[in-house]
């Protein structure tokens, strides 16, 4: 279910003492159901996990749009409500939907400079693949903003970059390309020959489970540390994968195995970054460090690949135009401005 | 690229649907009407036939307004039926079944018309009640005519439905649904008229 259901007036509630409890409206009277998604997520988590008040005792709460006229729903949310109905069988126009926060998005991305160029010269990135927009939280419609703005900047800059080159593709020796091609070919051949006992999809499932349990909504350093150890263990097990499919036509297992290595690397960078950031900011929430720590962490985390695991650095955030203020959704915006 | 596209297939198809309804379809209606005169007795039919015989330039009209469109509609129709796929086993929905029936009745009608013309129009005999009576007295011929009549009237009625879609007359789902009721009622009426006339021909002229 999309967040737009809340945006169009959906109300989140669960039962408390036998009566509907609109906990977002109660906890955040100024913003109610329109609080940012990280705040809503933590509230739902708190209600289900800490208070044990999930609907039917499960980790789920109601997202209710049934008070909105059906015609309006069909015009504004028709497509997503139809999908819910297909999957669940209840009509959300009449019966509140049962929901729980889920992973949808990774806020980080490739580092780019002001011209949208990555640290690989000539490689430009635009849209949600790069890191610039979301910071500690993803705001609605920023995805569109990033692809429109990033594309507008990256396109002309790519042309400018090409014009400024003294040497281009044709003037480089063929051996250079052959050499890299051979390296990739060899890598793929190696994957095809893997005949250990591990299943790549099983490793992937375990990775997903560990990351979801420990590096998402609520983060504790000891668990994060254990997760990184687990990732290292999975990387060892990766070497013992058996690729059951030896075909050279659309071999998805081999392809997945190739991607899985990158996923493990990526997961490790996320985990390490989360471990080192001892504060709470946006979606990054550590109960042991519940406050935002601008002095130490008003920074962007940068992870660089090294053979010994990710190297973490920080880059200052430009706050020259908008000074940071307390993020408090329990009171009106004016109250947080000094 | 787009400009280079030939529109000939499109035109041939549109002419095919048009030919089926305007000259051929109108002729079918006229033919059924004349035949139904037989229900009023041999004299009524013979007089109606004689009236048609007396139309000036009859051969010219027959050739250009009936035979040419009919042959075109029939031959091109066979090609259409050949290029169509048939998958009502997998998708047994009403319109898909009608789609297949339309092609099937088209082929039946094609064969029927050739034989029908052979035994009547091109038999060298005068088109009288007595001639038809002789033919339909043979039970095999009678049943052949019956099947042919039903197939032809179905093909015509359902063809009107397709025509209305092909020419963009019935656009919405409701319009198309209403039209399918209308055309099916038309089919029942026309098939009834045709069969009724056929039965009338089986009675002796007296």
């Amino acid at each position: 279910m999309s967040e737009s259901a809340r945006g169009e007036g959906g109300r989140v509630w669960t039962y408390k003492d036998g009566k509907p409890w609109y906990f977002l409206e109660e906890m955040y009277p100024e913003y109610g159901n329109l609080v940012p998604r990280d705040v809503a997520t933590r509230a739902i988590f708190h209600v289900c996990v800490d208070l044990g008040l999930g609907v039917d005792g499960k980790n789920q709460v109601y997202l209710d749009v049934s008070h909105i006229p059906t015609e309006e729903l069909n015009v504004k949310l028709g497509a997503i409500l139809e999908i819910y109905e297909k999957f669940v069988g209840d009509d959300p126009r009449k019966i509140p939907m049962r929901i729980f926060p889920a992973m949808h998005y990774s806020m980080g991305g490739l580092w780019v400079d002001i011209d949208q160029q990555t640290n690989i010269p000539g490689l430009f990135a635009a849209g949600e693949v790069e890191y610039q927009y979301h910071g500690a939280n993803r705001l609605g419609a920023n995805s569109l903003l990033s692809c429109i703005y990033g594309g507008m900047v990256a396109g002309p800059n790519a042309v400018k970059y090409i014009r400024g080159l003294r040497r281009s593709v044709d003037s480089l020796p063929d051996s250079l390309y052959d050499q890299h091609r051979r390296k990739e070919d060899e890598n793929f051949e190696r994957i095809l020959k893997m005949d250990g006992s591990e299943n790549p999809y099983e490793i992937h499932r375990e990775l997903g489970q560990w990351m979801t349990d420990n590096v998402t909504v609520v983060r504790y350093n000891d668990r994060i540390q254990k997760t990184e150890e687990k990732i290292v263990e999975l990387m060892e097990r990766y070497q013992r994968i058996g690729v059951s499919d030896k075909s050279r036509i659309e071999n998805q297992t081999a392809q997945f195995t190739r991607h899985l290595w990158n996923m493990l690397q990526m997961a490790r960078a996320i985990t390490r970054g989360a471990y080192l950031r001892n504060e709470s900011r946006g979606t990054h929430f550590k109960p042991d460090f519940p406050e935002r720590d601008d002095e130490h962490f008003l920074k962007t985390t940068k992870a660089t690949w090294t053979p010994d695991g990710p190297k973490i650095e920080y880059e200052d955030v430009d706050v020259s135009l908008i000074p940071p203020r307390t993020r408090n959704y329990a009171v009106a915006k004016e109250a947080t401005e000094q | 690229m787009v400009q280079a596209d030939s529109h000939s297939q499109f035109l041939l198809r549109r002419l095919h649907t048009l030919a089926g309804v305007v000259p051929v379809g109108l002729f079918l209606l006229e033919h059924l009407f004349t035949n139904s005169m037989a229900t009023n007795g041999a004299a009524a039919f013979n007089s109606a036939a004689a009236t048609i015989e007396s139309i000036p330039f009859l051969h010219f009209i027959e050739f250009f307004f009936i035979f040419v469109p009919l042959i075109y509609h029939g031959v091109y129709g066979l090609y259409v039926a050949f290029t169509s796929g048939y998958n009502s086993g997998q998708f047994p929905w009403w319109r898909n079944v009608m789609f297949i029936l339309q092609r099937l009745t088209g082929i039946i009608t094609f064969v029927f018309i050739i034989f029908h013309l052979w035994t009547t129009r091109f038999s060298g005999k005068a088109p009288t009640f007595e001639m038809v009576h002789q033919l339909v007295s043979n039970p095999a011929y009678f049943w052949f005519m019956l099947i042919g009549t039903v197939a032809a009237t179905f093909h015509f009625s359902n063809g009107i439905w397709s025509f209305c879609v092909h020419w963009g007359i019935t656009v919405g789902q409701r319009a198309q649904r209403v039209m399918s009721y209308v055309t099916m009622i038309l089919f029942i009426v026309l098939a009834g008229v045709g069969v009724d006339a056929l039965i009338a021909f089986t009675h002796t002229a007296s």
């Binding site: 999309s2 497509a79 999957f87 669940v88 297992t253 | 319109r95 879609v165």
Partner: protein, 268 residues
Amino acid sequence: MTEVATQQGRSTTEQVLENGQQKFVHLRIQRQDGPDAQAYMQEFAVPYTPGMNVISCLMEIRTNPVDKNGRPVTPVVWEMNCLEEVCGICTMVINGKPRQACTSLVDKLEQPIDIKPMRTFPVIRDLMVDRGRMFDALKRVKAWIPIDGTYNLGPGPRMPEKDRQWAYELSRCFTCGACVEACPNVNDRTSFIGPFALSQARLFNEHPTGMMNRADRLDALMGEGGIHECGNAQNCVEVCPKGIPLTTSIAAMNRQVTYHAMGAWLKK
């Protein structure tokens, strides 16, 4: 843009027991090792979990690639992406009907679940097909609005809300291929571009800016494999997962094409 999961289909490890026995989902899958290889059937039994769909069954198979009798097999090849019926790539023929594997819930399917690729398209391997012809068709009918240029063209004309609402329905087409698969007139003997392309031409002809290229699209629809190849079997509208009024679109385009053709002829 799923940000909140529905409760169903979340658990992957929870086992379901029936009379103390693990319950299984039975599948019969048509396999094909390559584009020119022979097709063959293979049967599978995967452990049942509540809320399962066909995708999760296929995922079970790749995690434990053995057939019904426990013999090792190569994992079934198929494509998936969004898992919420908006990308169209997991379309396959499930129990005889073309539909998306992601919204094919096991609880609502008769077993053994019969799964085949959409044979109207070239099969690459197993359930994976090449839907390239659909994208070629969209290019043929210019299913886009050309606004790129060297200067800002301004905001363009507005569209009445009433029209936007029905045009939105057409815009929900995700090129899944179900209509092409079900259409009897898309076959080896014709070059019919398929129902979806006619509907997309209508969508862009309706758009106030897209309207400026209306004649190009209508010319394309009158070209080879165009709108005249439609035989009104209307299977398309029955199988469309988004309930797009494809047959209305086709009739509406028939009308536009009729006027266009007559107008062009009379003006010459």
